[in-house]
Structures are given as C-alpha cells and as structure tokens.
C-alpha cells in the first residue's frame, strides 16, 4: 500500500543535490548582480540621464540570452534530426525558443525604456531594434508552426527543420542591417578594434549579469524541460 502511495522515483525524479546547490548559488549570484547594478557600478558619464545606464546591466544580458537561446534551439534541432530523433531533443529546442521569446521581449522592453530616455523615442528602427524584432517574429513563427501540427513526430521533424533553416539565414541580417541604416546604438562591450572600452566596475557587473542570466536561462530550461518530459510521459500512459 505504501509503495503505491509513495512517488515512484523513476517517473517523478527529484533534482539531484548538486542541482539544488547550483540553484541556490544562482539565486545568490543574481542577488549580488542586482545589488551591484544599483550600488557598486558608477553611473555612466555622457548620458542624458546618468542613471539610465543602470538598465544596461539587465538589457545586455537579456539580449545575450535571447541569442544563446536561438543558437541552443538550433543545436537541439540538429541533435534531434541527426541523433535518433529523440523526444528529449525536440522538447529541449521548443523550450529554448519559448524562453528565448520571453528574454527577447524583456530585452526589447528594457531597450525601449532606455531609448526613450536617451534618444527621445521608444522606437526608431535602429538596426539592433530591427534585428530583435525579426528574431521575435521568427520565434513566434516557430511556435505557430508547432501549434499547427498534431502528430508528435511530424511536429518535431518539421519544426527542427524550420529552426535550422532560420539559423542558416540569420547571419545575413548581421551583414545587411548595419549597412542600410545608421545606428545610434552604443558599441558592443567588445568593440571592432577588439578593445574593451568600459569602466572596470561597470564591466564586472555587466559580465556578472551575463553569466548569471545565462545560468538562469539554463536552469529555467532544465526545469521546464523536465516538466515537459513528465507531461509527455503522462500523456503516453493515457
């Protein structure tokens, strides 16, 4: 009787101890970054509003994570098509896109707020704004495609193919957009001359944020994927 009531470990695996430890470390790390962004890093000189630069510690990591999500969705799609078409790889790609879309929206919102303060308008089709909108359209199209197919295998196969096609096409935007419109966007952290051009305390918080948010993405991804796999296993049993 007790056996039937207790949760069978094979179908409801709890996280191993090191994952729990990592999750707490991640919480601590993000907290330090949050505090550091408001107290440790100095305000940027040369901005209309000196304190508006603090949004950068969140905006840049979120934009970076949406890029990481895009690449990892492509990698998992490739793994799905080449390594025995496992459901795990398909769901991993789908979860990466869903999380990527959320980070994309957050990066766009934080960027718009900053743009309103510094450039005077929420939106002005800067190349980076254009590329993030296109990334959002692509993510949304991928999710629409998934919702339009009922059969699990067909959904996995077709959406993996679509994600890879998107990955092949995406680099062209990187070449085209900067040429067709002038950018006001501040230079990336590592600029074209390969030099890091930023005050060291700001750089520490920014890099800390990038590492923290990337880890947050993978933690969210792992959690969401395990939930999705359990739900899929539950569906199979019915």
């Amino acid at each position: 009787m007790t056996e039937t009531l207790s949760a069978p470990t094979s179908t409801h695996p709890s996280a191993p101890w090191w994952k729990t430890l990592l999750a707490w470390l991640l919480w601590l790390w993000i907290t330090v970054v949050l505090v550091g962004a408001f107290t440790y890093a100095p305000p940027a000189k040369g901005f209309v509003n000196l304190y508006s630069s603090r949004i950068l510690f969140f905006h840049v990591p979120m934009a970076w994570v949406s890029f990481v999500a895009f690449i990892s969705a492509g990698v998992w799609s490739l793994l799905f098509l080449t390594r025995g078409r496992r459901q795990r790889h398909d769901l991993a790609a789908a979860v990466a896109v869903e999380l990527g879309l959320i980070f994309c929206i957050l990066a766009t919102l934080t960027g718009s707020v900053w743009s309103r303060i510094e450039w005077g308008a929420f939106w002005n089709w800067d190349p980076r704004q254009t590329s993030i909108v296109l990334a959002m359209v692509f993510y949304a199209a991928y999710l629409v495609l998934r919702s339009a197919i009922e059969d699990d295998q067909a959904r996995a196969r077709l959406s993996a193919s679509y994600a890879l096609l998107g990955l092949v096409v995406a680099p062209f935007l990187y070449f085209v957009l900067p040429r067709i419109s002038f950018s006001l966007h501040p230079a990336p952290v590592v600029n074209q001359s390969g030099q890091v051009d930023m005050e060291s305390r700001m750089l520490q918080v920014l890099l800390g944020g990038a590492v923290g948010f990337t880890a947050l993405f993978f933690w969210l991804h792992d959690t969401a994927l395990r939930l999705r796999l359990l739900a899929a296993r539950n569906d199979d049993r019915r």
């Binding site: 098509l81 077709l158 193919s161 096609l165 096409v169 062209f172």
Partner: protein, 223 residues
C-alpha cells in the same frame, strides 16, 4: 546520376503538365501581380520621374513579387497533399530529386512572373534603370532565392493543418534578409551604382538556402 536527373526532370515536367491543364498557378500569380501593379500605379502616378522614386519603387516592385509568389508557390506541395498524390511521389522518386524538380518548377514560374511584371512595372511608374544588366541579375538571383526558400517552406506547411495560410507566417522571417539585399541591389541598378558586395551576399544567400534546403528536405519530406 542519370536516373536522379530523370526523376527530377520527370517531376518538373509533371508539374508543368498539371499546370497546363488549368493554368491555376500562372493565373493566380499573374493576376495578383497585375492587380497590385495597377493599384500602385494608380495610387502613385508616374513616380519614377521624381527623386523619391528611385528609393521607393524598387521596394514596391519586390513587395509585389513577394506577395504574388506567396499566393502561388505553396501550391507546389499543398496540391500533392490535398489530392493524396504525395505518397505516390515519395515512392516514385528520391527526396533530393523531388526537391530539385519542385524547385525548378517554382523557379521557372517565378522567372516567368518577373518577365511579365518587371517591364510592366517600369513602364507604368516611368522608372528608368541606369544599369539594366544589374537589374536583370537582381531579378534572376532574387527570384532564385524566393523560389528556393518557398519550396522548403511549402514542403513544411503542406503537412500542417493550416496549409497555405501558414505560408506567409513561416516564409517572411526567412525571406526578409533576401528582400533587404535584393531591394538594395535593385536601388543600385536604378541609380547606376556598383553593387559587388550586395551581389556577392545575395548569391551567398541563394547558395546557403538552396544547400540547407536540399540537406533538410529528406527530413521534411519523409514521415
């Protein structure tokens, strides 16, 4: 190799034979394009003679071509699924032959459409092109990119519930870099400027999409 070529050309010939029976795709593409052209021409008048014309009109030309092809090209695969001939096609030819055969059909359709639309457009809005050679190269290379991306996307959407309504949603994110490149090339052709870098990038896009499409197609096509 020869049997592969025979399979691909048989698919190309079959599609044209089926097309010749009712001219559905040709009529759809042609009428859609001409209607939009008339609308643009009536709305804007002889805009080609103004300074803004060289900037705006190449963009409108490619918008017309994009929407006309997205109305007709998805049928290449949607029809196979609707008439339940896709299974026979899977048995009759290997996936790569199906891909290149269908691509050749879409390509010939797109180039035919461009041959009809481009001269009409130039005449109606009175736009003069300073580098006609580059303009034609843009149409040929841009048409190839449109046809290649459309063939892959059409194969995907044919197997979904939504069918051709999904085509625009899926194809536009893939086609936006192509459109930006080809519009820039067409603007340069109208102005008489050189466009070596843009042309190289456009050809690279065409090559990448065709190769990626050919590699992904067996996974898309075979259930």
């Amino acid at each position: 190799m020869s049997s592969w070529l025979a399979e691909a050309s048989a698919i190309f010939a079959k599609d044209w034979r089926a097309e010749a029976r009712n001219l559905y795709a040709l009529n759809t593409l042609g009428l859609f394009a001409v209607t939009t052209l008339v609308l643009v021409s009536v709305g804007l008048g002889p805009m080609g003679v103004t300074a803004a014309g060289a900037q705006v009109l190449p963009f409108l030309l490619w918008i017309v071509l994009l929407f006309a092809t997205s109305a007709g090209l998805p049928r290449a695969f949607v029809q196979e699924e609707e008439t339940h001939t896709a299974t026979a096609l899977r048995l009759a030819a290997r996936p790569s032959a199906v891909f290149w055969g269908k691509l050749a059909f879409s390509l010939s359709l797109t180039w035919a459409l461009e041959a009809l639309v481009a001269p009409l457009f130039l005449a109606m809005v009175q736009l003069s092109v300073k580098s006609p050679g580059l303009f034609v190269v843009g149409l040929v290379a841009g048409g190839f990119g449109l046809a290649a991306a459309s063939t892959v996307i059409a194969a995907i959407i044919a197997q979904t519930r939504a069918g051709s309504t999904l085509f625009a949603v899926l194809s536009f994110p893939i086609l936006i870099p192509l459109l930006l490149l080809v519009v820039e090339l067409t603007r340069n052709a109208v102005d008489g400027a050189t466009a070596d870098v843009v042309l190289r990038q456009l050809l690279l896009y065409d090559g990448s999409v065709a190769v990626a499409g050919a590699m992904l197609f067996p996974a898309i096509w075979n259930p």
